[in-house]
């Protein structure tokens, strides 16, 4: 493998890792702050991609699809938190597992009724459609670079909100000690709803940005869910920085795994997870027992 091919694969791995980060950061926020395990996270990733396909089909604009898909998912997240999830905050994880599994079945069937089970594709915005010619045979699509930039901007926004704003302060306080935060009269319950909705929206956003470079198909959420779990386990629950580290590790492991030993690339991810668990059972940047 020459240096250029290596560079291209490296870029692919980073780009994959960044999208993984989008999805996994939503998951880790919901885990860390609400203490809720959400198996339906992958279903919203899938739903985001289908919404993007559907909106883009009728409006012809990727940007409307992006905003619309994220907006609808955000509202769905608010609604779900209000109806179901908030009743589970104090309860056993088993109840949360069952609720989110029930939601998966419902969301899957709604997708089946609304969009069918066909495989679709979404066109990227016109000005991002080209590719950069590196050598005579090697080129790199502009859209993949745009994903990297976009994900970095979103990641920066997440870090800014959590570290620098008042809402972020409430979120951090709630993650540290829920009862104390509530006792101090801080509107933590309202913030909870936004955290859950943002988590869902991030999953959908991941599905939307990935739609133009992969296909939109019914089972796409399942694989992403497991990968996000591995990312969160690697990074440490509730740690957004950990999710970033974990996502890049998985992105690179998966991409280079596919290059060097194709049939065992999925396997290598879990091997990595097993090794990290032996070394640090609470994840690389995780401190608390959850």
């Amino acid at each position: 493998m020459d240096l250029l091919t290596f560079g291209v694969q490296l870029l692919n791995g980073v780009q994959y890792g960044l999208v993984l980060f989008l999805v996994a950061s939503g998951l880790t926020l919901v885990f860390g702050i609400l203490g809720v395990i959400n198996l339906a996270h992958g279903a919203f990733y899938m739903l985001g991609a289908y919404l993007a396909y559907w909106i883009a089909k009728y409006t012809g604009s990727f940007w409307i699809a992006l905003v619309g898909g994220v907006g609808i998912s955000f509202l769905a997240g608010m609604l779900l938190e209000n109806i179901f999830v908030r009743r589970l905050y104090g309860r056993d994880h088993l109840a949360q597992v069952l609720l989110s599994f029930g939601l998966i079945l419902v969301i899957d069937e709604i997708r089946q009724i609304a969009f069918g089970k066909d495989v679709h594709s979404v066109a990227p915005p016109a000005f991002l459609q080209g590719s950069i010619q590196l050598t005579d045979v090697l080129s790199y699509p502009v859209y993949r670079l745009a994903i990297c930039v976009f994900c970095l901007i979103v990641a920066a926004a997440i870090f800014y909100v959590i570290r620098q704003t008042r809402i972020g302060m409430i979120v951090r306080a709630g993650a540290e000690n829920r009862q104390m935060t509530r006792a101090l009269g801080i509107p933590f319950d309202k913030v909870n709803r936004y955290v859950f909705a943002v988590g869902i929206a991030l999953a959908a956003l991941g599905g939307i940005v990935i739609a133009p470079i992969s296909t939109v198909f019914p089972g796409m959420g399942d694989h992403m869910l497991i990968l996000s779990f591995v990312v969160v386990v690697l990074g440490g629950i509730g740690s957004v920085a950990g999710a970033a580290v974990g996502a890049l590790m998985i992105g690179l492991t998966d991409t280079f795994g596919k290059v060097f030993f194709p049939t065992f690339s999925s396997f290598s991810i879990y091997l990595l997870m097993a090794l990290v668990l032996l070394w640090r059972p609470n994840g690389i940047l995780g401190q608390r027992e959850v």
Binding site: F31, G35, I37, L39, F84, R87, L88, Y89, G90, R91, D92, H93, L94, A95, Q96, V97, L98, L99, F101, G102, L103, I104, L105, V106, D108, E109, I110, Q112, I113, R178, Q179, D222, I226, F229, V230, V232, V233, I237, T263, F264, S265, S266, F267, Y270, M273, A274, L277, L278, P281, N282, E289, V290
Partner: protein, 349 residues
Amino acid sequence: MAGSAAAAKDDSVLPKPSLLVQGLTVLVVAVAIALPFLAPSYYVQFATKVLLIGLAAMALNLVVGFGGLVSMCHAAFYGLAGYVLALTTPKYDPASLWLTLPLAVGTAALAALAIGALSLRTRGIYFIMVTLAFGEMLYFLFHDTTIGGGSDGAYIYSKPSVAIGSFVPLNLERANSFYFVVLGVVGLSILLLRALVQSPFGHALAAARDNERRARSLGFPVYRLRLTAFTISGALAGVAGYFAAAQYGFVAPQMLGWHLSAMLLVIVVLGGMRGVTGPLVGAVALLGFEEVLKSVTEYWKLVEGLVIIVLVFALPGGLRQLASMVLGPRAEAPAAEPALPAAGEASRA
């Protein structure tokens, strides 16, 4: 006997069955034995499937109900044992049950031991995610490689043979014989699980579930207890998977997938977690319900999903809770069991 001594005392792990429940049990066993003589073979095969899923769920309940550990990888042990049968069955001849069953169950137990050893280093949400991820690892092992036909799966052309030398006691190709063998296996498993949860081991496991710190300070080897339970549970799930693969004559990676693991959890909660046979009742209820739904509507998954959501909110104690609501609190003595304790909040505080 340790079991009867524990049952005589009030601190038994298992709820004491009322006269009604005892009567019902006798009736159910009688119906189960009479079934092949009364019902068409379609229902006999359906009953076999229910028994096997029920067995897997009872196995899972050893760690979920009695160990307090939410495992999301039991389908992997179930499917792994099925794959061992598929890989060891020659194309034109049956495999010997006496060789392949121990091999399949041993493989499942080994996988459970390895996965358990790593996963049990973690707690709570971590444990759920790690078991889920390791289960998917085994799924991808069969999905991405060419072992056992890759993502297409593999056929098992003949059911295992129980011949000992030239003596053939039963022909498992006959649906009724197969059903009785499965019924016997499930019966033995129930006896084994009952003996386990009533033994000192079972009490220690339950103690670690109720208060890990206290159990640890009393000197119980909590990690080793849980690992033992996890391994036995994985092995029993393997028994179910072995017979399921033999029944369908087919294995596919989906057999190891986490959707089945989640379904088993639903069955466990539906049937009730504090009894050994609860999950079997849950399997009858859920699979029976599914069968009816499938004949009524194309969108049965939507209805099933909604039913699961209702179960979480309205019936956290499962069917047992429903029974005590209908029959009054006398039907089940410990009706006010905290089926799903608020462990999340307690550990966060």
